[in-house]
Symmetry: C2
Subunit: 190 residues, 2 copies
């Protein structure tokens, strides 16, 4: 018998996404979002949900663009910091010592210090409730060379992405490989 | 300098979601989805993306309901199995030895063996590309008592959720707490 916890936004794990935008003055901004995920394989798309009050919300609407960086263990403090203050009040890149890089594909910046970034063109805004969801087409994924495997794809353990626990507001790391998909289930074939 | 990997659906980590539905005959079905996440806090909502060809797609549309279980380390083989076969061909609950529990809130089942489940009423279907996105309002979260903390919320380490690496199709565990959100960033206040 399971116990009822009520209607709550819980999922395990959620990602720690660094959403990069330019504001109306051209100042780069970065926010921390856990409400998001991949939402389509072709075209490759990512969804990120934001409250309308967020500085980033207006920035995305104005420029039709954003980036999504993958927060990592070595930059946990910076990732948390950009979720604690507003870009209306603070130049978060400057205060956190992060390097803003202008995307060559979309009108948005990203922080060089996070190992993987998705460059996104806004496709749709889906109104839901206190959060609206921004669906962006991923025009390119860029990664630091030192996280890449010989096959050209990133190694999740070298990225060392943060995972967020929305129940107790904690950042966790990712453990070692436990099994391969489309493989460990083969033993169950009836 | 980051290296371009091309337009790909990559994110780190993604969740391993067990989407529960009834089909037109009333047979319970479960599928494995990594394209999803929380998309709104109020009303609490979860988004899961599915290809139109999936058995689960028609099931959700017909019943306006689904559940989302959180796959865990101890049930990795079962979680992988339900992603390898179609409910059109196989009674996945029976073959995997999973126990279908009928939700009392929505017209969908869940597997008792996964420690946390979200019971969802379909709110919106968002057409994107090869995947459409199903947004469900979370009417309740249910959890096994042995994963709950004294505060009534689940302990992510007792859930031991799987994290999926879409680059190399691997299942990983979640590591220990590295830091608390809205806290570890305080040292950076400018």
């Amino acid at each position: 018998m399971k116990q009822s916890l009520g209607a709550k936004p819980l999922m395990f794990p959620t990602p720690v996404l660094m959403v990069g935008t330019y504001d109306e003055t051209g100042k780069p901004n970065l926010m921390n979002a856990a409400w998001g995920g991949i939402c389509c394989s072709q075209p490759p798309c990512v969804a990120v949900s934001l409250r309308a009050a967020r500085h980033t919300y207006g920035n995305i609407v104005a420029r039709n663009a954003f980036t999504v960086g993958i927060a990592c263990e070595s930059r946990m403090a910076e990732a948390d910091f950009v979720g604690m203050v507003s870009g209306r009040d603070v130049d978060k890149f400057a205060v956190a010592g992060l390097t803003a890089v202008r995307s060559e594909l979309v009108d948005a910046p990203y922080a060089a210090e996070f190992p993987v970034v998705l460059e996104c063109r806004l496709l749709q805004v889906v109104e839901i409730g206190v959060h609206d969801q921004f669906i962006g087409e991923i025009l390119d994924v860029k990664a630091d060379r030192d996280v890449l495997e010989p096959d050209g794809l990133p190694d999740i353990l070298r990225i060392s992405p943060l995972a967020y626990d929305p129940a107790h507001k904690g950042y966790h790391g990712i453990g070692p490989l436990l099994g391969k998909a489309f493989s460990v289930g083969k033993g169950i074939q009836g």
